[in-house]
């Protein structure tokens, strides 16, 4: 990969576990301790029940592609095109969608419904969740 560094999230106490859980090799999402619903993107409050008792839960790291696009346009200097942007539905967190890149395959073989699993691209302390197709 010759791409420039990915743009970085502004880290706070609520989103830090999401962006650093890759250090343990797991995908984690904020979850409400009161009503058990997942809360993504992370907030200081649960969207469903307004509880402030929020924790992070590890997910299996697998999922399925909801939909995707093959991007051909160069939006940022040095980023190699084409690449796949996809909406992935992570297993174990119904209703949550993660925008991500599908990597380690030809862009033309990606389809909605494809099973995928997480891998991480670590850049200076941020562990960006990416996904690859499950063979």
């Amino acid at each position: 990969m010759t791409n420039p560094p990915r743009m970085r999230p502004r880290i706070d106490e609520y989103n830090r576990p999401y962006w650093t859980a890759g250090a343990e090799g797991t995908l984690k999402l904020q979850k409400c301790n009161s009503c058990s619903s997942f809360n993504h993107p992370a907030l200081p409050v649960c969207r469903q029940c307004q509880s402030e008792d929020l924790v992070y839960d590890a997910l299996p790291g697998t999922g399925a592609i909801d939909t995707f696009t093959i991007n051909h346009q160069s939006w940022y200097p040095g980023v190699e095109v084409p690449y796949v942007i996809a909406r992935v539905r992570p297993d174990g967190a119904p209703g949550v969608i993660l925008t991500t890149n599908i990597v380690n395959c030809d862009v033309d073989v990606v389809r909605p419904g494809d099973k995928v699993r997480v891998l991480f691209d670590e850049q200076d302390g941020i562990w960006f969740p990416l996904f690859e197709k499950v063979a």
Partner: protein, 388 residues
């Protein structure tokens, strides 16, 4: 005094171009002057100003003029003004004005949207966007994946139509083909669209973000569009045929481009009909936000012109949505053919058509009811406009 109804009584527009050098405040005043003359009003009679998204110093090309700046420049003795981006899309600035005149806070309100993105890109020293810093909010979940353009976000919804419902490029292409055909009949689109677009040209175009190709994305333009909203009890001061804002609706879903299951055009479209006795069958022309060609399909489905997942069949061949079709769409060329006016062009054209002032592009059938929309990502707004 409160008024039962709100009307659009004047419309105006500046020159539309790419990399214009005329100052954006002057473009705005050009559009204001045209709208005032159209309505038969003078600036002394204006007592309110409304805009979207308000002056944005961090993105000076996206919104270079604010409501306070315009009121100051024109000496408007404003009794009510607003400008903000936290609205259900661009046309909500007109909706806000309608609510204000109904409350009696003002009688005649200038609503405007000025865009200067092409000029700003060409003159970065004058219009440099603020940069740098880590990504806050919802953008942190998109931008690191180089999903940097709204085209990427909309394309994924469009691709769902491709894979789930069988949408073909030949079908999606009818939006851009229709836009460029209509644009040839709009003198204000001359700087944007030079000629009609053929299906072959469309099919051969380079892909931007599948399934959206170059022709499916609007391009930065420089322009100001003005709509004057007046109270129903102030119509005797106006000379133009008033167009009633018969209903308006707006919605937001999840405040993030990647969490909604469907774009907000569906909720907004459904809700619009709950505020009126008119039905989808009464509509004579539609002016749908087409910053990306897929969005009008979501409006066709969301408003109920066809079933969810079938809009590509509805527009197949392009006859239905043509100027002489049963549901003429984007008769001025839309944003694809007439420039990225950013929402307000759809209200402007609805008024032109309902008054029967479209000239070469005037629809031939009945012209009493129009729907204008804006947005279509996580937020959307729609206006039902009637001549009655």
């Amino acid at each position: 005094m409160a008024s039962k109804e709100a009307y659009i009584t004047g419309v105006g527009q500046s020159e539309v171009g790419v990399r214009l050098t005329r100052h954006p405040l002057l473009l705005t005043i050009d559009a204001v002057k045209e709208a005032l003359a159209d309505a038969g009003l003078t600036v002394d009679q204006i007592d309110g100003v409304s805009t979207y998204p308000g002056k944005m110093s961090g993105q000076p090309g996206f919104s270079p003029v604010g409501s306070e700046e315009l009121a100051d420049a024109l000496g408007i003795k404003s009794k009510w003004h607003t400008g903000g981006g936290e609205l259900p899309a661009q046309l909500a600035a007109i909706g806000n004005a309608a609510m204000a005149v109904k409350q009696g806070l003002a009688r005649h309100i200038i609503c405007f949207r000025t865009v200067y993105e092409a000029a700003a890109q060409a003159r970065p020293d004058e219009y440099r966007p603020a940069r740098g810093g880590d990504l806050p909010g919802a953008m942190q979940y998109l931008m690191p994946y180089w999903a940097m353009s709204a085209s990427n976000w909309v394309a994924q919804y469009a691709n769902r139509h491709v894979y789930k419902y069988g949408m073909k490029r030949e079908q999606l292409g009818q939006i851009a083909i229709n836009a460029h055909r209509n644009a040839q009949l709009n003198p204000r689109a001359r700087n944007i669209s030079k000629k009609e677009l053929t299906l072959d040209e469309y099919m051969e175009a380079r892909m931007i973000t599948s399934p959206l190709c170059l022709w499916d994305c609007d391009r930065y333009s420089d322009c100001s569009t003005v709509v004057i909203v007046s109270a129903g009890d102030a119509l005797d001061e106006v000379k133009a045929t008033p167009i009633r804002i018969a209903a308006m609706a707006g919605s937001i879903d999840s405040f993030s481009w990647d969490q909604p299951e469907w774009t907000s055009s569906y909720d907004t479209g459904r809700d619009l009909w709950t505020y009126t006795d008119y039905t989808v069958k009464d509509v004579d022309t539609v002016q749908f936000y087409d910053g990306f060609a897929f969005l009008p399909l979501t409006w066709l489905e969301g408003l109920g012109f066809c079933e969810r997942g079938s809009a590509h069949e509805f527009i197949d061949g392009g006859h239905r949505i043509a100027l002489d079709g049963e549901l003429p769409l984007n008769t001025f060329g839309g944003q694809l053919g007439a420039g990225r006016l950013h929402g307000f062009g759809f209200a402007h054209e609805s008024v032109v058509q309902l008054r029967g002032e479209g000239g070469a592009r005037q629809i031939k059938n009945k012209h009493q009811v129009a729907v204008a929309t804006s947005g279509g990502g996580p937020m959307a707004a729609a206006l039902l406009l009637t001549r009655d």
